[in-house]
Structures are given as structure tokens and as C-alpha cells.
Point group: C2
Chain length 306, copies 2
């Protein structure tokens, strides 16, 4: 019975490219594996897959009775709904340790680096498996995405070295140019419904018993939001009520100016303000230098909820 | 500020030797580290440390405000009491994924192998650090202990290969003989109070909200328990009440006959019996072929509690 390799809900490029890359590696070492996904592709991920000639992995929401290798998270809220009825055989990740547990021994490749695909590259090296040219391409793009072309504070020397190796394998000469092309695709928001934008890269977290949803939109120029900001605010307020969440936050990240405008609705805004030592004005605040949800937004908030 | 490297409560040889071996490795890669322990040494561990010329790691129970690298578990019940006030920077383990969580990214080296020291050997290889002769010796002994000299179903080819490598580094020609010498030390129970024996290798587990304590004594001949079995049974019954546990189990493992006598007291014995498809008689039952708490005892029980 092959295992399924699957990333998190509302998959980003790291989850999708990571599932493809890890499933290939597993098949090479005689552990049959199928890449899967828990949701629709973002425009960025669709661009990456098309660029390197891949189909989207199988859309599969239920995993009861299956062996599952989890990519890019270790959180119950981000995992398949019936993960408790599956056997988790492994986790590859680069986030904080979440609340997934298992009843049998497993393998965890978790490292404090910028992207799961950097960890998967380490796995290829460990098992001595050569990375095909096209898989090197999607892995490289996932790392450029997660590290905001090396600008994010989550980016480590391991990520940069990994991209150098992968660029050589994939025959990509101008990594920066590819990254900018990708972020230009990501920045196209015109004509997209507010809800689709809010949910494009949205994660729920369990913060000391409170459900907190945090979305992030990374663009090359924040001006693209000028005409739709009020719509986005109305939508996160609606989303908070629908999901019985304590708070919903949306980070509008300008990767050129290297900061984020935070939009927030909350049952208790003081918890949010305390977390970042800020004052919001009508649920908005500019966070200078904040690019990373994982490293700069989630940990202080987690601590503020205790 | 150096990190502390520490195994689980009631430390076994894997926890103690692993803390020493991992702290040495971390210091070699310019990450200052101090090995520590959460309890007294077992006679087996004392034998190993003396054999290779090591002092016991520092006894340290409180870790608030410290950076901590966790060895050989990922369970809250087995971690330092104030682990929530510490920063977990990493976990090296070979068990099921437990309920420890973190608020920041970390590294997890978890593999489904027989011993944490096998994983630590992989870490030495990854970082390209040479293993000193004496550290190779204690790592090898920890693997022989956890795999019951390769007899346990938890033993993998990775563990065996690792012992081969370490034996060469440590200059140990007869690995089997060293293992038997170690298990003979472990088998000496005469004159030891029942409580000390029950607690010698004892772990608490959270089984769907129920606290279950499971001890294990591995000996070369079960006859050493003939005269004290009733005392052991009285003691696990007392331990159950003192700790408000749902169940306490004690495995008396005969490594030559390759099986375990299970002694059990429980609020609901049918959960235990269902887990292993057995019938107990006066709280006793022989489990043929059962050597591993981790692989053969905990997972079916975890499932039986759901």
C-alpha cells in the first residue's frame, strides 16, 4: 500500500512542490508514495508547476486507514480532518512543533530553516538520490517563495546553499529573475474575490485554546490593495464570525519595502497589541521589517495568549 | 548561554549516553551545550559510564528560561516539569510523536530506529564530526541496551550498522560479550527495594486523558524475580493509587527466552486485555515474543484507550 505525501490545508508552493519532491524520493528508495494535496493551487503554485511541466498532485481530503507522510506542518488544524484515523509515518517541516501526535514511532525531519524543500534536499543527500532537473526547479521555486527571495528573516545559509545547488541541477542562471517573475504572478489580485484573496495563504492556529486565523498576501507593491482594502477588512470580519475564531489577521506584505500592513479583527485586540508592542488604528497597523508569519508573527502571539 | 541536553525522567542509558554524546557534538559545531539528567543513574548506566571513564551528567530538574535539547522522548509527562517555561531548540528521538509543542521553529531528528544514539550517530555523520573513542563506547552500549543486543523487534539494520561503526571506533572486538556483561549487571535485583526496581525503567503515558505507568525490567533469567514477585505486585498497586494512575503495568522481560511476564493493576483490566487479545490471571500473563515496550506494548494500548 503506497503512502500519501501531503502538505497542509490551503496548500502553498512549499506544500505542493514538497509533496511532489518527497514522493519522488520515497519511490526511488523503494517506499511507494503518491503526492496529494488538501486544496486548490494558488496562482503562484500553478505558475511553478506549469513552468517545470508538472500536473497538480491528486486532490484527496480523506486519509482514514492510509499511511501519510506530512509535509510543511505538524498542526492538527492544518492536517487532514481524519488524520487521527491515519498512520503518520513521517513529518518534514520547518515550523514550530505543533499538536499532531502518533501512536507509533515515525520519522521527523524538522529543521529551523526557511522552507520544507530545503529539508527535503537534505533527505535526497542523505539517501544519495539524484534530484531530477524538473524537480530541482520546483523545489528551488518553493524555497524562493518561502524565503521571499532570501529576504525573509527565516532564510538561513542552508536555504541559500540549497538554492545554489538546485539552480545548477535545474540549469537556472538567474534565480533572482525567476523569483521576481513568480512574485509578480503572486501580486496579481485584480478581479479576484476578497474571500479568495484572504484564503490564498491562510492558516489556523490553536493559541492556548483559542482559534486564530492568519492570512498573508505577499506582493511587490502594496498599492494593488488600495481599492480593495475595505473589502478585505469586511471579509476577515465575516470569516471570524463564520469560523468562531478569536481573531483573524491578514498580513499585506510588501516584499520590496520589506514590511507588512496588518489588518486585524479580534475579540480582544489588546492581546494582539501586546504581542507586537503596537497600537492599531481602526484595525490597521504598519509593521516595519515584518515579512515572516512563522518567525515574526506567530511566536509573539502564541506567547501573548498564555 | 549554553543549551542543556537532557533525556527523560527516570533516565535510561539511551537518555544519559545520548545527552553526553549530543552535547559533545553540539560543542564541536560551536553550539555550546551541557549534558544534564532528570534523575539517578540505573546500575546499567553507572556500569557503562564507569567502563568508558565518564562522570554522570549534571543533575538538573528545572529548566525555566533555558534552551533545552530533548533526548529520547517527546512526551510532556517525561519532560522536565517546567519545560513550558523553557525554549525547546531540538528533539532527537526514536519513539512515537508525543504531546510536546513549541512556539518557535526547532530541529527534530526523529527516526523509527531502535535507539536515540543511532540517530545521534547520523547527526555526527551529517555534521562531519569525528566520534571520540570513549563516546563511541557509551553510544554503542546504549544501542545494545535499547535493542536488547539486537533481539528487540525495534532493532533495525541502521542500529546494527551503527554498532559496527562504533565498535570499530571504540576498539571493541566482542560486542555480544559486552552486551551480556551489561545485561548481567542489569539482572542483579537482590537486595534492591521493590519500589526501586519498579521505578528503574518506568515511564508515564497520557492515554487519551488517562495516566498509565509502564515499567520494564530486562533480565537474563526471570527466576531472579521468583521470591519478590508478590512484593512487586503490591508495589505497583500502591504506585497506582499514589499517582492517581488509571493503570500500572510492569514488564518482567526475559531476554534469553525472548518474552515478558506482564504484571498489571488497572481501573479497567478489559482495556488492557483487549489491547493485547489476552486474558490475565490474578493480574499476570506471559507475553511470548514481547521485548519492546515502545513497539509492542504502548501502541496497541494507546489504540485500546481511544
Amino acid at each position: 500500500m503506497p503512502m500519501y505525501v501531503v502538505g497542509h490545508k490551503i496548500p502553498d508552493s512549499d506544500s505542493i512542490c514538497g509533496a511532489i519532491a518527497l514522493a519522488y524520493l520515497k519511490n526511488q528508495i523503494d517506499e511507494p508514495a503518491i503526492a496529494a494535496r488538501l486544496g486548490e493551487l494558488s496562482p503562484e503554485t500553478a505558475f511553478i508547476l506549469e513552468r517545470f511541466g508538472f500536473e497538480a498532485p491528486e486532490l484527496k481530503l480523506s486519509y482514514a486507514g492510509e499511511d501519510v507522510y506530512i509535509v510543511d506542518h505538524s498542526e492538527l488544524t492544518q492536517a487532514p480532518d481524519d488524520i487521527a484515523e491515519a498512520t503518520i509515518v513521517g513529518i518534514v517541516d520547518h515550523h514550530k512543533l505543533g499538536d499532531l501526535t502518533t501512536s507509533t514511532p515515525l520519522e521527523c525531519w524538522i529543521r529551523p530553516v526557511g522552507c520544507s524543500n530545503t529539508v527535503i534536499k537534505m533527505m535526497y543527500d542523505f539517501f544519495g538520490v539524484a534530484i531530477p532537473k524538473d524537480i530541482a526547479g520546483i523545489m528551488l521555486c518553493a524555497i524562493l517563495s518561502d524565503t521571499v527571495i532570501f529576504k525573509s528573516p527565516t532564510c538561513t545559509t542552508a536555504d541559500i546553499r540549497c538554492v545554489e545547488d538546485l539552480a545548477e541541477i535545474a540549469g537556472i542562471e538567474d534565480v533572482q529573475a525567476l523569483g521576481m517573475e513568480m512574485f509578480n504572478v503572486k501580486s496579481a489580485v485584480a478581479g479576484t474575490p476578497a474571500r479568495d484573496l484572504v484564503m490564498r495563504d491562510f492558516k489556523d492556529f490553536n493559541m492556548n485554546g483559542n482559534l486564530v486565523g492568519i492570512g498573508q498576501l505577499e506582493v511587490v507593491d502594496l498599492a494593488v490593495f488600495d481599492e480593495i482594502k475595505a473589502e478585505l477588512e469586511a471579509d476577515i470580519a465575516a470569516l471570524k464570525e463564520e469560523g468562531e475564531r478569536h481573531s483573524v489577521m491578514l498580513l499585506l506584505t510588501d516584499i520590496m519595502k520589506e514590511g507588512s500592513e496588518l489588518l486585524v479583527v479580534s475579540d480582544d485586540i489588546t492581546i494582539i497589541e501586546r504581542a507586537y508592542s503596537i497600537e492599531t488604528e481602526n484595525g490597521r497597523v504598519w509593521l516595519e521589517g515584518v515579512l515572516s508569519r512563522k518567525k515574526q508573527v506567530v511566536p509573539p502571539l502564541q506567547d501573548s495568549f498564555i
